[in-house]
Symmetry: C2
Subunit: 331 residues, 2 copies
Amino acid sequence: MQIENPYLMFLGDAADDLAAKVANGVAKWRPDWCLGQLRLPGCNADLGLTDMTLEEAKAAGVKTVIVGVANRGGIIPQSWLSTLEQALVMGFDIASGLHNKLTDIETLSSLAAEHGRKLFDVRHPTETFDVAKGTKRPGKRLLTVGTDCSVGKMFTSLAVEKEMKARGMNCDFRATGQTGIFIAGSGVSVDAVIADFISGATEKLTPANEADHWDVVEGQGSLFHASFAGVSLGLLHGAQADALVMCHEPTRKHMRGLPDFELPDLKRCIEVNEMMGRMVNPACRVIGISVNTSGLPKDRQDDYLEAVEKETGLPAVDAFRQGAGRLVDAL
Amino acid sequence: MQIENPYLMFLGDAADDLAAKVANGVAKWRPDWCLGQLRLPGCNADLGLTDMTLEEAKAAGVKTVIVGVANRGGIIPQSWLSTLEQALVMGFDIASGLHNKLTDIETLSSLAAEHGRKLFDVRHPTETFDVAKGTKRPGKRLLTVGTDCSVGKMFTSLAVEKEMKARGMNCDFRATGQTGIFIAGSGVSVDAVIADFISGATEKLTPANEADHWDVVEGQGSLFHASFAGVSLGLLHGAQADALVMCHEPTRKHMRGLPDFELPDLKRCIEVNEMMGRMVNPACRVIGISVNTSGLPKDRQDDYLEAVEKETGLPAVDAFRQGAGRLVDAL
């Protein structure tokens, strides 16, 4: 899978900016690829990009229309459909992060075939994978892990990649979720592969590489999350990570979606991730902590980071405010 | 999914008994359900059951034809197909453990629809699952775990179930792999569900139950296996196990399929399984060890079990030779 850029961001009739969260992430991290946005009547989201018609997008050189919005009730309304059909006729590919597959919609499938265009349903891997081999492969890998789901693993990975690129390091961001895949132009939604192949898909995503090359791998879930720990462990083993960055959100009252579960202690979470990671790579270690401090009072944010550093003996940064410089220094 | 018994075991033209391994397991554990076997010309496997034609099976009251053989090269030969088609016409359901789906074969699908029969592809779950909730539910659960893949987890689970039934305990064997599913008549191939739902599928398989009820859950893989640890952890969390039985095969030179990986130390494997299990159930503990000693010299088998008991402080049995009595005692 390789999604061609530049992109036109399709926002449909998104109720608010939250409904366009995926599109927002793509526009933030790949501003050069996102040439414009297409909003239908009733759309309340705004990425701050130039509004474009399909014709204008064509003239601007757009290759792919990105459907980076949540649809209401899982239904793709007729108003979206006629725009997407027209996009295929005009020669765009379409990449979607919807749960419902574009390829399941008869008119889109047949128009894509007729016009030689591609439909990417990035939540639904179509590749086949081998079972993981576990063999040590050249190149280095950094994986973001977390105390919980949705604690900034993608953001941190991208901040690390940005810092590495700025330093001229040989690296690639490797995406494992829908927003990340639009940002990378490729990747695998690891939580959507068949369970037997979680680690195998991750091995394929992060193949043998030059000795100085870093894969910066987007993590998913948490080893401590009762719903998703299997995905997190499969990813940790498949990535054969040399370096882990522990991501954390200090204001969470309980594990996301699990009111009965407290967040794990940070030091214990580090120990368990290192222990499980060392099963496949004895060199695996947590090299730093990435904390989303935005939920803390402004005057307590830096104190919190300092306390985490003291507790763990590792650099702790808020990657949003401070970038990932100190994390890359720690490698 | 509920596969109706009694069964006719279809062996096709299996090259040898190994190709009929699944059917063998079913015949061993559910002799009362397996009324006969159907062998085509060239079949070299033999379950020791009465050879039956479809007509004889019908007369004997068989409900389902079980395809418990490996097919060569993934192809279902014409000779198998005509027998299976005839079975549907005669009113049997068919349940298959093949990688290739029966439901993908046009003639079988349409005959099943026409005659109101069911096709079960037990390697390929068709149910939908929710994401795991992690909520504590009534009833008790025992899960078999392992130092490696294929170290007797299904066998041990069935031996425990047999012992519990013999003692009049309230219990059910819960199958997570193809052979187990034929033996239970229902279950979920957890390694074939979408990664996000490993734990959710396991929760559905082992639902809330009476306070004295035991689910005896068939484990898969090993937390230490670089290919499949994600499945094992998802299963451990979803089962919310109260009791674990650690299964082990002492003559393995390396982890199955992974020549670079040594088997984990038994005590460490116990510790890690308990630690990860306690994330969702603080009462989780390993209550005993099940060792397949058949690869050891006869005069060393009991010494080995004794040494394991001394090392771990837990009862260690060879469930094949000795049954699971001491494991059930330990609950």
